[in-house]
C-alpha cells in the first residue's frame, strides 16, 4: 500500500510513522558473549530487527586451500533468515539471491577490515541468524558481526559500523530541494523510499562501500 508522499514531506516538526524525527535512530541494544560454545558471539537489536551472530575460527578451512587464497584468511559468511522473522511465516531458502548478495557484501566488507594476512590458510566463519526482520538488515548484520568479531578477539583495523539512510520522494513542486534524508529506516519505510546502507571503518579504515539492502 503506497503511502502518499506528503507523509514524508518533512518540516522541522514532522515526525515519521513510528514517531521518530528524520535523524533519530531506533532503540539500539547489544550484547556480546551470548553463547558459551562459540568463539565469539553477539546479539543486536535495532528496534524490531534482531540479529544474532556467532563467529567460529579462525580455523583451518574445510576444503584445505580449496579457495586458492593461500596468503590470507577467507571470511565465510552464512546468513540465515529464520522462518518466524517476518510478519508472515516464510522460509527463505539458502539459495535466495538477496541472501547471497548480503553474504557477499558482508564477506567483502570484513575481508578488507580484518587483518586477514595474519592467518594464512585459514577460514573464519560468521553465522548470522536473523531472528526478527524490520528493516536495516545489512546494517544490523554488519554491526552484529563487528561485535562478535570483537568478542572473538580477531584483530581488525577498526570497528566496522553501518547505518541505513533513505531519501524521501520529491513532492513534485520544487526541483528536488524538498527531498529529505531519513536515518535508520524500518521495514515499512524501506518499501517506500530509496535507501542506501553505508558501512564505515572509522578514521583508520575509511569507507567500506555499501549497497541497497532488502527491498
Amino acid at each position: 500500500m503506497p503511502l502518499p508522499p506528503s507523509i514524508y514531506h518533512l518540516s522541522s516538526s514532522h515526525l515519521r510513522l513510528d514517531g521518530r524525527r528524520w535523524n533519530e535512530l531506533r532503540r539500539l541494544t547489544a550484547q556480546i558473549s551470548t553463547q558459551a560454545s562459540a568463539d565469539g558471539s553477539s546479539y543486536l537489536e535495532m528496534g524490531n530487527t534482531k540479529v544474532l551472530c556467532t563467529v567460529t575460527g579462525p580455523s583451518e578451512g574445510k576444503g584445505g586451500g580449496r579457495r586458492g587464497d593461500e596468503d590470507s584468511m577467507s571470511v565465510d559468511v552464512r546468513v540465515n533468515v529464520a522462518g518466524f522473522a517476518g510478519m508472515d511465516r516464510k522460509r527463505v531458502g539458502r539459495g535466495d539471491r538477496r541472501i547471497t548478495e548480503l553474504q557477499n557484501t558482508i564477506s567483502s566488507a570484513f575481508s578488507s577490515t580484518l587483518f586477514t594476512h595474519l592467518y594464512p590458510h585459514s577460514t573464519i566463519s560468521l553465522q548470522i541468524h536473523i531472528l526478527s526482520l524490520d528493516g536495516s538488515l545489512l546494517a544490523a548484520s554488519l554491526n552484529a558481526a563487528t561485535l562478535a568479531l570483537i568478542d572473538a578477539g580477531v584483530p581488525m583495523r577498526d570497528y566496522l559500523v553501518a547505518c541505513t539512510a533513505g531519501l524521501t520522494p520529491p513532492s513534485g513542486r520544487g526541483d528536488g530541494d524538498d527531498m529529505d534524508p531519513l536515518l535508520d529506516l524500518n521495514g515499512s519505510e524501506e518499501t517506500e523510499v530509496p535507501f542506501l546502507t553505508v558501512g564505515t571503518g572509522g578514521a583508520g579504515g575509511g569507507d567500506v562501500g555499501g549497497g541497497g539492502g532488502w527491498v
Binding site: Q35, S37, A82, G83, F84, R94, H129, L131, S132
Partner: protein, 366 residues
Amino acid sequence: MPPTIPPLLSPSELSYLHTSLSLTPPIRPDARSPTSFRPLVAETDLLPAANGSARLCFADGTEAIVGVKGEVEKTTNTTTTGGRSGGKGGGKGGGIDVIDMDVDEVEEVGSGGEGRWIEVSVDMPGQRDDDAMVVFLGEMIHEGLVADQFLQNRLVINNRWHWRLYIDILLLSPPLTYPLPLLSLTTHLALLSTHLPAPVQGLEKDDDPLFNDDWDAAVPLYPPSTPTNPPNPTSNTNSNKKPTTARPPITLLVISIGSNIFFDPSHAELAVADSVVAVTIASSSSSSSNEAEDLSLLAVRTIDPPSRLSSSSSTTDADAGREEEEGVWKAKKGGVRRDVLGRMIGMCTERGGVGAEVLSGLEGFT
C-alpha cells in the same frame, strides 16, 4: 544419529571416569547428585513477530531458539474423521517409521484437529534442510506434540477454520552433544509462551473468524495451571473437557553407567556411558484431573553411546571373550538391562520425580 565429536580423553581418564561413576554412591566429575541438572539459561517471548518464542542455553554452551507462529487456515475436509492422519502428519518424514506411539483416533467427527496442522522445522548450522537427522529430529518432536490430541484440538476455531502452527527450531550452536533434549525443552517453553488472538465472541459456528486485535486479550495455547487452588472442574471454562494440566512433552537424556543412572550428562560422562536413552514424557491429559501430577511416557529411544565411536571400544569379535585389562576401560557391548531401563523410566515419570521437577521448573520461566 548426530555426528558426535569423539571424546578426547585418554584411556586412563576414561577408566577413572567410569570407575568413579559406577561406585555406590557415584561421584560425578562436577560433584552433582545423579539427578541434579546443570544450570541453564532461558528466556521467553523475545521475538515481537512470533506468537511465542523461547531461547534456551544449556550449560555446555549449546543454544537454541524456537519461534512459534500461527496462521488461520481453511479446513478443507470437515466431514472426514479428523484424527486419521494424526500421528504421521507433516508428510515430510517419508520412510521414517513412527514407533512406540499410540495415537488415539478422534471419536467426534469434525471437532478433532489434525496432526499436519502443526509443522515443525529444525534448522541446524552446517546441515542441509533435507538432511536425514534434521528431518528425523523434527519428526520426533512433532510426534510427541500430536501424541495426545490436546494441541490439535486447541487449533480448531470452528467447523471451517483452524490455526496452522509453524514451529521453527533454530539450533544456534554446533551440535556438541545429542541435541534432542535441548530442542524439546526449548519447544516446550516456546509453546508455553504461545498466545493466539482471542476470537470475537458471538459468532456462528461456520462464520469467518474475527479476532480481537488487543494482544492483551490473547489466549494462551496451553492454559496456565493454577497451582494456588486445586483443580476444580467447575472453574474450567474451556469448551473441551480436558483438564488444564496438558503440557507439551519434554525429552530428557538419561545415561546409565553400571547400575547407576544419571540425568543431564556432561560431555565427559557421555563418553563413558554404557547406554544413552532419550525419554519423552508429557503430562497425561487423559487422566482424571485430580491426579494432575501423573506423567505419561510417550517414547523411549536408545541412542548409540559416543563411547562406541571411540577407539576404546572393542568392536571385533576376537576381543569379545578377553578379560579386561587393569586400568583400561572398554565400552560395553550389548543393550540396556531391563531393570535399569525400568528404573530410568520410573525416575522420569513417577510423581515428584525428575520429570515432574523439570516440568515445574520450566513453568517458572514463563
